[in-house]
């Protein structure tokens, strides 16, 4: 294992119908499952005035940091070595629209000042940093359909540049009347949950005796699915063992038909900025499940020809710890 490799060393989950990482591979839809209750998971303290996206992200963050061995009663590493990247497209639309309504109806004297932090789209990333004392780079990615994979990529880029030793990467979206109204969607189609990954430099993981469950590979953001496949799976390259496909896209004839395709939005609902992070977490579970192809790479992809671009990322199973 190269010291410059970037490993996934923890997965955290706050999703309806999912108790642990293995459930990310469930086949049936999570529609109708009870929604995530942050107060039950974290206790009520510190959740007041936090928007739903921040609360869900805090749940996934705690779970992910614990899974990676970074959080017991307190953080087990210096806070300055841990960065945060959060992806969400719809996260604070509830606050923005509610406040705009309030100003029209009541004027500024009628709105609650407690909404102020939530009017800034980066509130989720900074809320996670504040709660767990993570003082490395803190970045909010709001980049459309590919946003979750882009977030993983920028965490990896910052690790390669030496800006931190590890990043907590979170994908989160919420389902509420404002978001449904803007998207023109009925209830029950949108994900209301969060997923977290800890990605870490291999040397930093080794130094604290942590094992990785996957290795991040090549990433690309291209104009379409075929271009993205061309970049990541060249004709002479090894075919991946599984493909987590973009929402609603199972075709992709550039890969052999026997490469299994999984559309996580069929199980978890439309996941927008959370999708890429969810896909990477599911790929980690796929490696862990140890099926006949689990020694091969996993390909995850978000965005289609309907979006501004398509992003893809390859992951490999982690080798024996160095």
């Amino acid at each position: 294992m190269s010291s410059s490799e970037i490993l996934v060393t923890g997965v955290g989950i706050a999703l309806p119908g999912v108790d642990g990482p293995a459930d990310l591979l469930r086949a049936g839809s999570t529609a109708g499952e009870p929604e995530v209750d942050p107060a039950a998971l974290l206790g009520k303290r510190g959740l007041r005035y936090k928007d739903r996206a921040s609360q869900l992200a805090l749940c996934a963050a705690a779970d992910g940091l614990r899974a990676a061995g970074l959080l017991t009663d307190a953080l087990t590493v210096p806070g300055s070595t841990v960065g945060v990247v959060v992806s969400s497209n719809l996260g604070n639309l509830d606050t923005v629209c509610e406040v705009a309504d309030g100003i029209k109806e009541l004027g500024v004297d009628g709105i609650s000042p407690m909404g102020l932090p939530n009017a800034s789209s980066n509130v989720v990333a900074s809320t996670v940093a504040i709660r767990y004392g993570l003082r490395g780079p803190n970045l909010m990615v709001c980049n459309g359909a590919t946003s979750g994979l882009d977030a993983v990529y920028w965490a990896a880029s910052s690790l390669a540049a030496g800006r931190a030793e590890r990043f907590l990467v979170i994908g989160v979206e919420t389902d509420n009347r404002y978001v449904r109204g803007l998207l023109g969607l009925p209830t029950g189609q949108l994900l209301d949950g969060a997923v977290a990954l800890v990605v870490e430099r291999a040397d930093a993981a080794a130094a604290r005796g942590a094992a990785g469950s996957a290795v991040l590979g090549r990433y690309a953001r291209e104009g379409g699915i075929d271009q993205c496949l061309d970049r990541l799976v060249p004709e002479d390259g090894a075919v991946p063992g599984t493909w987590f496909v973009p929402e609603g896209h199972r075709s992709g004839d550039r890969l052999p038909a026997d490469v299994p395709r999984t559309d996580l939005s069929e199980v978890f609902g439309r996941a927008s900025g959370a999708l890429g992070v969810l896909q990477v977490a599911a790929a980690v579970s796929w490696f862990a499940a140890g099926g006949p192809d689990a020694g091969q790479r996993a390909l995850v992809m978000s965005g289609t020809g309907q979006d501004d671009a398509v992003a893809g990322l390859l992951l490999a199973p982690a080798g024996p710890a160095a």
Binding site: S3, S4, I6, S80, G83, V84, L90, L93, V96, C97, V99, A100, D101, I103, G107, V108, D109, I111, P113, G115, L116, A119, S120, S121, N122, V123, A125, S126, T127, A129, I130, Y132, L134, R135, G136, P137, N138, L139, M140, V141, C142, N143, G144, S147, D150, A156, S157, S158, A160, A161, G162, R163, L182, L183, R218, R221, G223, D307, D308, A309
Partner: protein, 391 residues
């Protein structure tokens, strides 16, 4: 992503080879810089909102709405495209940016359009909340990234773009910043001010708070490999980013000080080498105090050496785009020797009493190194060090 690990970010200087800007004081970099040096502000009565709903009545808006009142969608996106066009033209890039990563830092994305769509029935598609959709249409760009990092967003984007160049992930990157007023942010700021401000007065004892401004800024960045025929507008020596991990809106002087030290360390400079500080200077009670304390702590006996100025006194707080605007003004100041004044600063706060603010008229000085500050809600800090070209 498979690039070798760097010893530390920012160890190789990078060249800024194109500039673009638009805001309430000008429609191009030269117009903006000349206005700022002349002390002209973009302050005016609120144009796009129903003024009867607010206590504060002023802002620093771009006056481009159609006649007849009301507001329209997509304004931030249009300014972003103008700023990128100007920077790309300045760098000699064509209209095809399909191979050039474009990184955009913004506080509020197209949330103003979302407000108009949700509340007032304007046509708005959620795919236009981030800027990739429009940048692909205009420039064929597909490696586009919208980072929504509050008021340090464009310098955070610069850090990411700088890392991409350093890791050989691209030959050229465009880094941009953009923001417009949202009614939700303007209104919530208005709600929390003790008295409504009518002017942004950074570091003044009588400052009342912040007022927002419209604007976009863009630069083209390349590795400084001395290629021929290219006009280098300045060198990027470092960008350091961190997070206070302290409070969702209030800054922490200790986290800010760590960011200043980090930027100096990565650039290989000491505080006494800095000739000019482009202050974040928002005119809020908390920011200006924390920023002054942090500078006092890091610069120590040298805190009175560099010239300092806060251009938000003329542009208002252009939010996520403000850091990159500060960087562009810094490069123009290093190149021309002219430094814009901080308008409206009469008596500095105690923590900044020893600072060499540019006041009244613009200053003229020979300068080499500038520090650019940007701090945002949630304690997201970003500090850059830039150097005059042609050293």
């Amino acid at each position: 992503m498979t690039a070798p690990l760097l010893e530390q970010p920012g160890t190789q200087p990078q060249a800024v080879v194109g500039l673009g800007a638009v805001n309430s004081v000008g429609g191009s970099v030269d117009e903006v810089f000349d206005s700022l040096c002349a002390g002209r502000t973009g302050r005016a009565e609120l144009r796009g909102f129903d003024r009867s709903r607010f206590r504060a009545q002023h802002a620093y808006e771009i006056d481009d709405r159609p006649d007849g009142g009301g507001d329209v969608t997509g304004r931030a996106t249009r300014w972003l495209i103008r700023a990128v066009e100007e920077a790309a033209r300045d760098a000699g890039l064509g209209d095809d940016l399909s191979e050039v990563p474009i990184l955009i830092g913004t506080g509020l994305r197209e949330l103003r359009s979302a407000e108009l769509g949700w509340r007032d029935g304007a046509a708005f598609d959620v795919s236009e909340l981030h800027f990739g959709t429009a940048l692909r249409e205009r420039f064929g760009a597909v490696r586009t990234y919208t980072f929504s990092n509050a008021c340090s967003a464009s310098l955070y984007a610069l850090a990411m773009g700088s890392d991409l160049l350093a890791a050989q992930g691209a030959e050229t990157v465009i880094v941009a910043g953009v923001d417009t007023l949202t009614e939700s942010m303007y209104g919530l700021l208005d709600r929390v001010h003790m008295q409504p401000p009518d002017q942004v007065r950074p570091f003044d004892k009588d400052r009342k708070g912040v007022l927002m401004g419209d604007g976009a800024a863009a630069i083209v960045l390349r590795r400084a490999d001395g290629r021929l025929g290219e006009t280098v507008r300045g060198l990027l020596r470092s960008v350091y980013v961190n997070c206070d991990g302290f409070h969702v809106t209030a800054p922490d002087a200790e986290g800010v000080a760590q960011a200043l030290l980090g930027a100096h360390r990565l650039a290989g400079v000491k505080s006494e080498d800095i000739d000019l500080v482009m202050l974040h200077g928002t005119g809020t009670l908390l920011n200006d105090e924390a920023e002054a304390l942090a500078i006092g702590q890091v610069f120590g006996p040298h805190a009175g050496n560099p010239l300092m100025t806060a251009v938000k006194s003329m542009t208002g707080h252009t939010s996520g785009g403000s850091g990159l605007l500060g960087l562009i003004v810094a490069l123009k100041s290093l190149e021309s020797g002219r430094v814009p004044p901080t308008v409206g600063l009469r008596e500095p706060v105690e923590e900044a009493a020893g600072f060499r603010f540019v006041r009244g008229a613009h200053a003229e000085a020979g300068l080499r190194l500038a520090q650019v500050d940007a701090f945002g809600f949630g304690g997201v800090n970003a500090v850059a060090v830039v150097e005059r070209a042609g050293q």
